[in-house]
Amino acid sequence: MKALWAIYLRGLIILKNRIGKTLVSFFLSPVLYALAFGWGVGRNLDVEGVPYLTFMLPGLIALSGMNQSFSIATEINISRFLSHFFEEYLLSPARDYIVVLGNILYGVTKGLGSFGAVIIIGFCFGVVPGSGFIIIIPVLLNSIMFSSLGVLIALTVKNHRDMSSFTSFIITPMSFIAGTFFSLEGLPRIFHILSEVIPLTHSSLTIRALFLGRPIAVYHYLIMAAYTLLFFFLAVRQVRKAVT
């Protein structure tokens, strides 16, 4: 447990040291999205029976949570390739799964921070979650899932360029075709199939359903849990291969 705390504590201290920049990063993108799409483009638009901003905000929670949680990948990369601090974990008696868990905890903290930020932005625009605190369940799952993916990718890539390629080719496109900004209803079948494979889709759908107080099929949660477990175990397997 001490080793887990050590890894998490490092993240918390870094977060504390950069609190200003971190807070800006929590708020900046969601505010811009809310202004541009929600308030600007979609001011007079209804989607799935609700105003567009109300529709989009849960998608923004999922998207922002993904981005913040996955961003630990960059930090792990810096500690692998630049500061080499990651070696400190590998040399210590901490078990590999503890190294992964400690980093995931840090990612989840960032993910929850971004959730708080989007909720505050929603309040400012007069949009509040309809289901209360239960929304935290898919939000947490979303953060754990993308933190696990972040650790996995950070430990798999061979250099910084590979990392940015993954973000450009996988993370960014995922942001737009996972039901975050538009409804998946009425889209061609190929898009449906593609979006079903994408983990962010299930986060968007579950968070939106709870946000709007609507029912949601359990299988979305199961898919998120399955992805989380898959990413976690693959990340643990990668720890010892991460020596540079």
Binding site: A3, R10, H84, E87, E88, L91, S92, P93, A94, R240
Partner: protein, 290 residues
């Protein structure tokens, strides 16, 4: 395996994916309480050997023993018995000295009371106590290296492995680092270090192992290795080519020099001469296709 050594490398072999055969059949015993230098030119296999000893990379073949007990790959118990000072200054620059040490102590499962006492003591010993709350980013290279060394000592390891501990430091900082390392050895800690600075190896180590092309080619005290080659050397700089000849005594070297050109230097053989003789000459031969 009989145990009169703290660490035994038994026919270690490492081939990387892609076929690079970095370490070949490496056998070596490190005596408890000794200080030993691992020398070798770039690409000789030193870092791979150290990586295998630290548990950072798995041997393709062969075994390691710690106090006679075979080390199971991935053993967390073994990792808690060694302290490693990496070649990279692998500190968290955004954290203070104290925070870096605290995280290390937690990783090794140390309790609060023991942890704080040890951190305080080590920071005092390394003359870093005044800077304990400063971000490591603001430290000089020598201070960072000192911090790295005391961090490796924090959990009380029995064996300390230092990979080029003084690389990139000015002479005064190097001297300071060696004061710490030498004091550790006097306190009974076993030290294994790699270096490119031959004078450091000659001055501080009780034993030198020279690794070349993945194999240990010499392993003895530096005095014995030098004596084996010749304690005196005659360096002839005529025709723009440096030619070194070794002799057992000064008189023979002088006599031999008297018959040659006037651009001669006669001096005691150093470990660097021996190193260049053993590794450089082979490289030269390879480069010349002989």
């Amino acid at each position: 395996m009989p145990n009169n050594s703290i660490l035994t490398l038994d026919r270690l072999d490492k081939t990387y994916p892609g076929g690079i055969h970095a370490v070949k059949n490496l056998s070596f015993k490190l005596k408890d309480g000794s200080i030993c230098a691992l020398l070798g030119p770039n690409g000789a296999g030193k870092s791979t050997a150290i990586g295998m000893i630290c548990g950072l990379c798995r041997p393709s073949e062969g075994s390691l023993y710690f106090r006679g007990e075979k080390i199971v790959p991935g053993s967390t118990e073994y990792r808690s018995k060694i302290g490693v000072v990496s070649q990279h200054l692998n500190l968290e620059l955004d954290l203070s000295a104290w925070q870096n040490l605290k995280i290390h102590a937690l990783l090794y499962g140390m309790g609060k009371q023991e942890r704080e006492k040890r951190i305080e003591r080590l920071l005092i010993d390394a003359d870093l106590i005044q800077r304990k709350n400063d971000q490591v980013r603001s430290f000089s290279g020598g201070m960072k290296r000192k911090l790295q060394i005391i961090r490796a000592l924090l959990h009380g390891p029995e064996l300390i492995i230092l990979d080029e501990p003084t690389v990139g430091l000015d002479p005064a900082a190097r001297e300071g680092i060696w004061d710490i390392i030498y004091a550790l050895n006097r306190d009974g800690k076993t030290i294994l270090f790699s270096t490119h600075y031959m004078e450091e190896a000659q001055r501080y180590s009780q034993r030198v192992a020279i690794i070349h092309q993945g194999r240990i080619i010499r392993d003895n005290t530096s005095a014995a290795l030098i004596k084996e080659l010749g304690s005196w050397c005659l360096i002839d700089y005529s025709d723009g080519i440096k030619q070194t000849t070794f002799f057992q005594d000064r008189k023979t070297a002088v006599t031999s020099g008297a018959r040659g050109s006037s651009r001669l230097v006669i001096r005691e053989t150093t470990l660097e001469d021996l190193f260049i003789h053993l590794t450089g000459s082979e490289l030269d031969r390879k480069e010349n296709g002989k």
